[in-house]
Symmetry: C2
Subunit: 215 residues, 2 copies
DNA sequence: GGTATTTTATGCGAGACAGTATAAAAAACA
DNA sequence: TGTTTTTTATACTGTCTCGCATAAAATACC
């Protein structure tokens, strides 16, 4: 990890690709098409690397998939952590999380793709225990993140003191899951927005000032 | 459809398979492995039919998939209609629906498979408009079913008169979705049960008589 | 400039895959 | 018994797919 200083002159022919960018492209490809439907030629075309380079850099197809999926999770973490850390009423933080998720799931060069974890990897998870383990971790982490959020909100008096943060968290995760699925089948943005409104008011109670939208 | 009376003696060599059973086996296979990861040899082994018979009976791989998925939806309809038609408090009907879904998603000869619609078909939906259309229909139907259920419950005074049946329905569908995904990654039954409890009390309010379980 | 080292480029080979051709089998009909 | 009809059984074809072998290219070191 630390071994490669940016100044180090490597000995042989220089790489014609940026490993990080190439892996991001591979991620896009798997995200869209899933494991089985993605061929090494697809990956080659997406990354601009030829097959031997792919192998040298990332290993076989399975290895590339796992690395791509890990990258997806890292990207999601980086994207959502600031929103979660932000202080503010749960209602608002929740809405921001759901809306960011919605945007992520609707994004994509060839149309909406949903969530790599929820739609694609979960599907492969039956066949491959390694992938299953990663998806289980991802979903557990999401549950825990939401639970912590609700616990803090209860402590701050934003929610009824007898609320169950774990129960709330599971419904919040369920919202993420349904957003992922609906985005994957090209649900229009306003359908997802209606869903977010429904979930937020179910989780935090109906908004007294009539649904103030941020932005 | 009506042409084949059960007494009709057909002319040539008799079939060695039952089309309905064979299609059910094909459904199981696609349900478990998805479209791309399922080979015609897999289907051949599962159904007991050889490749030419598969083609004669159902068409090419794509055709078999669509027919298998339609069969899945028909099966789900048949299984859930009686539960939905049943009279009783929404709270109880909802619980029964979620528990039946949970059982269905956890079932399978080789371990839990989740929901064909939600996990497998939704994943393929990006590549194939025909499949996407079917999944969209399936999810819309689910939303509408739940909405009707809540509308009736509001009319009967079981829920607050200012409840929004469509919003409630979307959260109920979200519960189905998260159950499907969690089952697919082998979540233990009691985790799913906890999720059902959380969702039901979120949708219908906390149970005053401490959570009476049916059966 | 020559050598060692690392990467790219091309393409090969074994196997998997989807779909089909051909022939054998099993029934009704005459 | 022989013919027709429908299905099964076997095997083939062309294509795709994965992974790797081999050679050329591009750099640092000497």
């Amino acid at each position: 990890m630390v071994q490669k200083s940016p100044e180090t002159k490597r000995r042989g022919r220089p790489r014609s690709y940026e490993p990080d960018i190439a892996l991001a492209r591979a991620m896009e490809t798997f995200w869209k098409s899933g494991y089985a439907a993605t061929t090494l030629d697809d990956l080659s075309a997406a990354t601009g690397m030829n097959r031997p380079s792919l192998y040298a850099a990332f290993g076989d197809k399975q290895d590339i998939y796992v690395k791509a999926y890990r990258k997806y999770r890292a990207r999601v973490r980086d994207e959502f952590e600031p929103i979660i850390e932000e202080s503010g009423p749960v209602r608002l933080v929740l809405r921001r999380i759901f809306e960011a998720a919605s945007e992520l799931y609707l994004s994509g060069p060839d149309g909406p793709r949903g969530c790599f974890s929820v739609v694609t990897a979960a599907s492969e998870a039956v066949a491959d225990p390694q992938i299953r383990k990663l998806v289980v971790e991802a979903i557990a982490a999401l549950d825990e993140t939401f639970a912590a959020l609700f616990t803090k909100a209860i402590a701050r008096g934003e929610l009824a003191p007898d609320s169950n943060p774990l129960a709330l968290a599971k419904v919040a995760t369920a919202t993420i899951h349904t957003l992922a699925i609906r985005a994957r089948i090209h649900a229009p943005r306003d359908e997802l927005q209606a869903l977010i409104d429904a979930a937020v008011s179910m989780l935090c109670g109906p908004a007294d000032p009539p649904a103030r939208r941020h932005r």
